[in-house]
Structures are given as structure tokens and as C-alpha cells.
């Protein structure tokens, strides 16, 4: 809006002319960076969010191919498709890819895309940091796969237990690749988390008090907090591992006062919250989908928010249940059993609230809702096997077997990927302006759902029959062959379903029906702007007067005026009630975040080979940071003069 409030204009023509002029001004101010150079300078959240999603989906496909390779190897006993050396690289890369390069980035990327639109602001709080996060993530992923194709893929498992991953038992650079890839993706996730927290706290549309924040945004907020407190643990442990390997420190060397279990504590202090970092955004997606497809506000807003927060807290108290077999004192183990079982209460509360929402709703059985129903089915199974795993005696039997493989895939695919596929289907029109094919969407759902269950359900039984996880083959006499063959067949059905889903996306991108602003009749703010949204998101920032703002708007909706359109201005609101507080100017396109990410890349990749990597890499990093922060006085900030 121009500085002149529109309220001052009287005639309709004046109004429309002023609005059109204002739109042109906004378009000029917020213009996307264009061309190849623009790819390296873009700071817009929707562009970067899309990159996150596309990149993560590519890694998803790669991780999926690795999964199929493993399933082919395990289809028959004593199979020779993959030898142990390659198999170990493949399963480690599969796990690391799915956790660090797919699940976390795509959830955070979805947040990067949607949060500003959902809270009603023009961009994330720190646009350049956002660009930096993406490049660091991309470098981490490319680094892992470059190494993988050079036969230097990590091979010590995605939790890289020492001493196996230590200097003595994993010579060469494979584990270093893993450790540095972790560092890249953690830096990226941490930066996004801080960005999202700040945006959610300080940039909500006026009226969006804490108790009106959309559930998806709440989920991203809780997730971001978990990232902030969980990821430092793995950064620290991977730093220690890298130092043990590079300069002979002894953090994990029992011969010199170190301890192998210290790694497990640090890793799982991160690793368990990690599961919730992936799962909680998915619950946000479920809530976001349920509202428009039941035409009801999601039942139990307060209960759901409290469940999310409770999950966030309890999620930090469970890590030891990954370590029961290390032999803990009885009392300590019971405490972690209790905590692990307790987390089923907030999880159950969420499921009950969603069922209650379905109960009163006018359901539309479109693909997104099918994925949500598939989610309820599979996630409940995964949650219940989780309760079983929390029981120490049972855990000692099925820990590190295919039972756990089944459980974790029920939780992560059923609990997170199903909602994600539903969510991407739901938001595809917003991202691209086109609808996906509903028919192919349903085909993909049924293939994915059936394929998934055929793949992973038999693995529960395999685990109970004694099949340890991470074996590259097994003896014919074990009798595990039939179920493994079934599981492999299921994996191919699942793979076909994902392929149909992705092809549907690619075809619809070109040929899909135009979507319009709001094809689903949804309640949240992102549907009030064009599809795809303009670079400034909202011509006039909306005001919010309830939890489902768009369902409360009738002929007219209230907006904010007075933000300048001739520079990139944000409205900053206060934390609790989202009352307007002040305006800030947001930076435009710049290449320095990209340069900084290259500097960080040099530091860590060189750091694999020499401790001098740090001082050498510090130089480009420092240059990029100085250039990044050096004020140019061209963003419209008032300048200060020396007092005489």
C-alpha cells in the first residue's frame, strides 16, 4: 500500500486505479531475481521453499532407489546382487538421505514456503539466511552423493556407532563424508528453525494472537524449537568424531579415557527428537488438510496445541530407549520406559481429535483426505509397536531387528510421508497454479498404501523370527526367504505408487487444470492470494479475527494499510497478540549468502583432509559475512550522523 491510506479515496474508479498503481509498485519492489545469476541471489521464501521441496523430492527418489536395491538383495537368501561393502554403503546412504536430506529438509522447506503465507507476511524474517540455509543443504547433499558415486559412501550406518566409525575400524574417508554431511544439514536446519521461530513470533498478521495461529504453523514452531535444542547434540558429536578421526583426540576411545557410549547418548539425544522433528510437521499437515476436507475447524485446537508442545518436551526424555541393550541400571531403564510410553498420550490425543473432526464433518474423499486416512491407519500401528518397544524386556528381544525396521517405517512413512504426500497434493495448486489429476492421485494413494503395508508388515514377523537389521544377506535355512520376497514385492508396488505420484506432478505442472486462488474452499490465509502467490504475497496485509480467517470473511475482509510499497517493508507485530509494533525493511537479492555457503563448504570438505581446513575456509567465510552485513545505505534506512 502506498503511504496514503485507501480509506481516504472516495470513488470506485479512484480506488481501483490506486490499487493497480500500488500493485505495480509492489511488483517492482519485490521483483524476483531473474536469470541464472538470479538463481544465486534469490531471497524470496516461496522460491527457496520450492527449491527445498524439489531438491528434497529428488533425494527422496534417490533414497527410494537405494531402498529398492536393498530389497532386491534381500529378496532371496544368499543373494549376490550387492556385496557387503556396497550394501553397507547403500543402507547407510539410504538412512542418511531419508533422514537428513529428505525428511527434515522437506518439512522445513514446506514451512519456509507456507509459514509466511499462513501468518500473513511478505517474507521470512531473515531472507538472506534462508537462502544460505538452502545452499548449505544442497552442498551437503551433493557432497554425500559425489562421495557415494566415487565409492566413498559412508558405510557405518546412519547412526555411525563408534568405535566402528572411529579411526581404527573405518579408515579412509567414508565416515568423514557422513560426519560433514551431517554438519551441513544441521547448520541448514538450525538456520531455518531460527528463521521460522522469529517469523512466527514477530510477523503474524494483526489479530493472529497465539490462540489463532494455524495448527500447521504451531507444528512448525514446535518443530523449530526441537531443532534448536536437539541438533546441537549431533553437531557436537559429529565434531568429536571428526576430531577423533582427524587429529587423534580420544573422545570415544576407551583406551585413553574416552567412552563409546558417550556417542550413543549424544547421538540419540538428537536422534530421538529427530523423529518428532519429522513427525510434528506432518501432524500440522494433517490438521491443515482436515479442515477444508471436512469443512470443519479441526476439533480440539487447544488439546492439539498442548499435545504438540507436550510431544516437544517429552521427545527429549526418551533417547535412552534406543540404548536399552547396552545394559542400563533397572531404575533408569524404567524411567525411560515410562517416558516413552507417556508420549503415546499426546499422540493418542491428536488421533482422537482428528477422528472427532471427521465425525462431524462433511467429508470430501479427495486424494489429500485419503492420505490422511492412510496416515491414521499406519501411524496407529507404528505408535502401538512403539509402545511395545518402550517395554525394556520386549525391546531387548526386538531391538536391532527387522521389527524395528518395520516400526520406524510405519512411524516415518505412515506418520510423516503419507501426510506429506497428502499435503503436497493439497498445496500443489498453490505452489504451481495448477491442479493435480485426482484420478492418478487416487491410483498413487492405493499403490502407496498397499505397497507400504505389504513391504513393512511382514518385517515385524521377520524381526520376531530373529532377523537382525542391517544384514546384507541371510542363510537359506533361516526360513526368512518367503517373507522377504513378499516384502520386496511390496517395495516395488510402493515404488510404483511414488513414481505415479511424481509423474502426476510433472504432467500436471504442464497440463493440469488451472487452480484459481482457492480450489478447496480452505480456511487459512495462503488461499486468499493468487496461485502461485505474487512475490510480495499480500497486496495489503490481511487482518485475522479467528482461527479460520477465510471462513469468517464474507463480502469484505479487513486489511492493514500504510506499509510502504516502494521498499521491501514488513510489519512487525508483538509476540502474544500480534498487535502492530513497528515496520522493518527487508533485504533484496544478494549473492553473499551463496558465497558464504561455498566458504562453509570449503571449510568442511577441506576439514576432512587437514586441520588447516578451518583457518583456510575461515577466509572466504569472513569475506562473505563482511560483505553480507556491511551497510550500503540503499535499503531506505534512516542514516545517523556523528554528533559533534
Amino acid at each position: 500500500m502506498s503511504a496514503e491510506p485507501i480509506g481516504g479515496l472516495t470513488s470506485a474508479e479512484d480506488f481501483e486505479a490506486a490499487e493497480a498503481a500500488d500493485r505495480r509498485l509492489l511488483e517492482r519492489t519485490w521483483k524476483y531475481a531473474s536469470g541464472l545469476w538470479g538463481w544465486f541471489t534469490e531471497v524470496d521464501h516461496s522460491r527457496i521453499g520450492k527449491r527445498y521441496i524439489v531438491t528434497a523430492l529428488i533425494f527422496f527418489a534417490l533414497g527410494g532407489i537405494e531402498a529398492l536395491m536393498m530389497r532386491v538383495q534381500l529378496a532371496r537368501p544368499a543373494n549376490g546382487f550387492l556385496g557387503p561393502d556396497l550394501y553397507n554403503q547403500v543402507f547407510t546412504t539410504h538412512g542418511s538421505t531419508m533422514m537428513f536430506l529428505f525428511a527434515v529438509p522437506i518439512m522445513l522447506g514446506l514451512g519456509v514456503y507456507l509459514v509466511p503465507l499462513m501468518v500473513g507476511t511478505r517474507n521470512l524474517a531473515f531472507p538472506r539466511l534462508n537462502a544460505f540455509s538452502y545452499y548449505v543443504y544442497l552442498i551437503g547433499g551433493l557432497f554425500l552423493y559425489t562421495a557415494f558415486f566415487l565409492n566413498t559412501g559412508p558405510d557405518a550406518g546412519w547412526f555411525a556407532y563408534v568405535p566402528l566409525s572411529g579411526p581404527q575400524f573405518s579408515p579412509g574417508k567414508r565416515v568423514d563424508v557422513w560426519a560433514q554431511m551431517i554438519t551441513f544439514t544441521e547448520i541448514s536446519a538450525l538456520a531455518v528453525a531460527v528463521n521460522l521461530i522469529t517469523t512466527i513470533f514477530k510477523q503474524r498478521a494483526p489479530g493472529m494472537s497465539l490462540n489463532r495461529i494455524p495448527l500447521f504453523v504451531w507444528a512448525m514452531l514446535v518443530t523449530s524449537f526441537m531443532v534448536v535444542f536437539a541438533m546441537p547434540a549431533v553437531m557436537l558429536s559429529s565434531l568429536m568424531l571428526a576430531l577423533d578421526r582427524l587429529i587423534d583426540t580420544h573422545f570415544f576411545n576407551p583406551a585413553q579415557g574416552g567412552d563409546a557410549i558417550l556417542w550413543q547418548h549424544l547421538f540419540w539425544f538428537f536422534g530421538h527428537p529427530e523423529v518428532y522433528i519429522i513427525f510434528i510437521p506432518a501432524t500440522g499437515i494433517v490438521s491443515a488438510i482436515l479442515a477444508p476436507f471436512t469443512r470443519r475447524e479441526v476439533f480440539g485446537y487447544m488439546a492439539l496445541v498442548l499435545s504438540l508442545v507436550a510431544t516437544g518436551f517429552i521427545g527429549f526424555g526418551l533417547w535412552v530407549h534406543h540404548m536399552f541393550a547396552t545394559g542400563l541400571p533397572q531404575l533408569g531403564a524404567s524411567f525411560f520406559t515410562a517416558a516413552s510410553i507417556m508420549i503415546a498420550i499426546p499422540a493418542g490425543t491428536q488421533i482422537f481429535c482428528w477422528i472427532a473432526t471427521l465425525w462431524g464433518g462433511h467429508l470430501r474423499f479427495k486424494t489429500p483426505l485419503l492420505y490422511v486416512l492412510g496416515f491414521i491407519f499406519t501411524f496407529v500401528i507404528g505408535g502401538l509397536t512403539g509402545v511395545m518397544l518402550a517395554a525394556v524386556p520386549l525391546n531387548l528381544q526386538v531391538h536391532d531387528t527387522f521389527f524395528v525396521v518395520a516400526h520406524l517405517h510405519y512411524v516415518l512413512i505412515g506418520g510423516a510421508v503419507f501426510p506429506l504426500l497428502g499435503g503436497l497434493f493439497y498445496w500443489f495448486p498453490k505452489l504451481t497454479g495448477r491442479m493435480l489429476s485426482e484420478t492418478w492421485g487416487k491410483v498413487s494413494f492405493w499403490l502407496v498404501f498397499l505397497g507400504f503395508n505389504v513391504t513393512f508388515f511382514p518385517q515385524h514377523i521377520l524381526g520376531l523370527e530373529g532377523m537382525p537389521r542391517r544384514v546384507y544377506t541371510y542363510l537359506p535355512e533361516t526360513g526368512w526367504g518367503d517373507l522377504n520376497m513378499l516384502s520386496t514385492a511390496g517395495a516395488f508396488i510402493l515404488g510404483l505408487g511414488v513414481l505415479v505420484y511424481l509423474l502426476n506432478g510433472i504432467v500436471s505442472l504442464a497440463k493440469g487444470e488451472p487452480a484459481g486462488d482457492d480450489p478447496w474452499g480452505a480456511d487459512t490465509l495462503e488461499w486468499s492470494v493468487s496461485s502461485p502467490p505474487p512475490p510480495y504475497n499480500f497486496q495489503a496485509l490481511p487482518m485475522v479475527s479467528g482461527r479460520s480467517p477465510r471462513w469468517l470473511w464474507h463480502d469484505q475482509h479487513p486489511v492493514v494499510v500504510g506499509l510502504r510499497s516502494d521498499r521491501r517493508e514488513f510489519l512487525i507485530t508483538n509476540l502474544l497478540d500480534a498487535e502492530p509494533d513497528h515496520r522493518q525493511v527487508s533485504p533484496g537479492p544478494t549473492v553473499w549468502p551463496f558465497i558464504l555457503s561455498l566458504g562453509v563448504g570449503v571449510t568442511f570438505i577441506l576439514g576432512i583432509f587437514t586441520p588447516w581446513g578451518l583457518p583456510i575456509g575461515a577466509v572466504p567465510c569472513a569475506v562473505a559475512l563482511i560483505a553480507w552485513f556491511w551497510p550500503r545505505g540503499d535499503q531506505g534506512h534512516p542514516l545517523l550522523k556523528e554528533k559533534s
Binding site: V194, T198, T249, G257, Q556, V559, V585
Partner: protein, 208 residues
């Protein structure tokens, strides 16, 4: 296509364009970084106590304390640097560029003195990072903290340069306050590590 008409309800054109403290999004960014690094340092301490709990002798034989005098003096330098950083932040609130520059220079001198003394302390240690896990913990923690001190020095020099060369935007004043806030955090972390590393009962025991 006819757009849905909108009703202007709030006019924000009179609102200010800067704000200090929690009102400013950047404050939350810095607070977030402090949470991240604070967690990392806390886990470092947790690791210290974990390894200590599993050790028969702690610290390992052959570890000789560099002396409480020099290490305490080192900490005192760091604590002292809070004062000029605080004065710089106050001057920033008043937009008094000359005073800011003065206090930044004073604090930078203190940072550098601290770093010089730290290097001399580390030279006196009887063990290295590859001697044993205790050495790994001490050297890595000191290393991580030193990276922060060096960053602090570079940041201060950068601020001095901007204040001298310009252009000085009004939001720089808030950046300066946040710079001070972050420095307090760096000092507090070291105070904690000092307490653990140099006053740890096990170590005092070996002194007697």
C-alpha cells in the same frame, strides 16, 4: 477478474522503523543462536562429567594445573570486558557514535589481551588434545570458545570500521546492542567452563 474488496482497518504508516530488544526480530535471531550454542556447550559439559564419572583417576595422571592465579586473572579480563561492551550498548541507545567507537576499542583491547593470556596458558599445559580424553575435552572446548572470541574481535573491528566509514544506518544501533548481548553470553560460557575445568573438585584435590 474482480478481486474481493478489502476494508482498510489499521494504518501502520506512523509506526517507527526500528525497535530495540525483544521487539526486534533480530533479537530473536540472536537469542536463537545463543540457545543453539548454549545447548552445545551444555552438552560439552555433560560429556565432561560423563567421562569423568567413568574414569578411575580424574584428571588423568600427569595433568598439572596451570595455576589458579593465571587462569583466574584470565577470567577477570574477560569479565572486565563486559563493562565497555555494556557502555557501548548504552551509547548505541543514545546514538552517540563517538562513545560507541571508544568503548568498542577498549573492549577489543581487552579481548585481545584475554586471548594472548589464554595462548600463554595453553602453552603451559602438560598435555595435548591427543594425550587422553581429558585433554581432548579441554582443548576442544577452549578451541570452540576461542573461535567465539576471535569472532567477537572481528565483529568489533567491523563495527568500528562501519562507524568510521559509514553509512551508519539507524538499525546499526540495535545491531550493536545485540553484539553486546551476544558477548555477555560468550563471557558467561567461559565463566562456567572456568568453574568446571579449574575449580573442579578433582583438580583442586590434586593441587593439595
Amino acid at each position: 477478474m474482480k478481486r474481493r474488496p478489502t476494508t482498510p482497518v489499521i494504518d501502520v504508516s506512523n509506526l517507527p522503523t526500528t525497535a530495540f530488544g525483544q521487539r526486534d526480530p533480530l533479537w530473536w535471531g540472536v537469542a536463537g543462536v545463543m540457545c543453539i550454542e548454549g545447548t552445545m556447550f551444555a552438552l560439552m559439559l555433560a560429556s565432561y562429567f560423563y567421562l569423568r564419572g567413568g574414569a578411575h583417576v580424574w584428571p588423568p595422571p600427569g595433568v598439572i594445573h596451570p595455576g589458579l592465579g593465571i587462569t583466574t586473572g584470565n577470567l577477570a579480563l574477560l569479565l572486565l570486558s563486559i563493562l565497555p561492551m555494556h557502555l557501548a550498548a548504552q551509547a548505541a541507545e543514545r546514538q552517540d557514535l563517538a562513545k560507541i567507537r571508544l568503548w568498542l576499542v577498549v573492549s577489543t583491547v581487552l579481548f585481545v589481551a584475554f586471548l594472548a593470556l589464554r595462548i600463554s596458558i595453553m602453552h603451559r599445559l602438560t598435555f595435548r588434545w591427543d594425550s587422553h580424553a581429558y585433554g581432548s575435552l579441554i582443548w576442544t572446548t577452549v578451541g570452540l570458545h576461542t573461535v567465539h572470541v576471535v569472532t567477537g574481535i572481528v565483529e568489533n573491528l567491523l563495527f568500528i570500521a562501519v562507524l568510521t566509514r559509514g553509512p551508519v544506518e539507524d538499525k546499526l544501533m540495535d545491531d550493536l546492542r545485540l553484539n553486546s548481548m551476544y558477548w555477555y553470553f560468550v563471557v558467561a560460557c567461559w565463566a562456567l567452563f572456568y568453574g568446571v575445568f579449574y575449580l573442579d573438585p578433582g583438580l583442586l584435590g590434586t593441587l593439595r
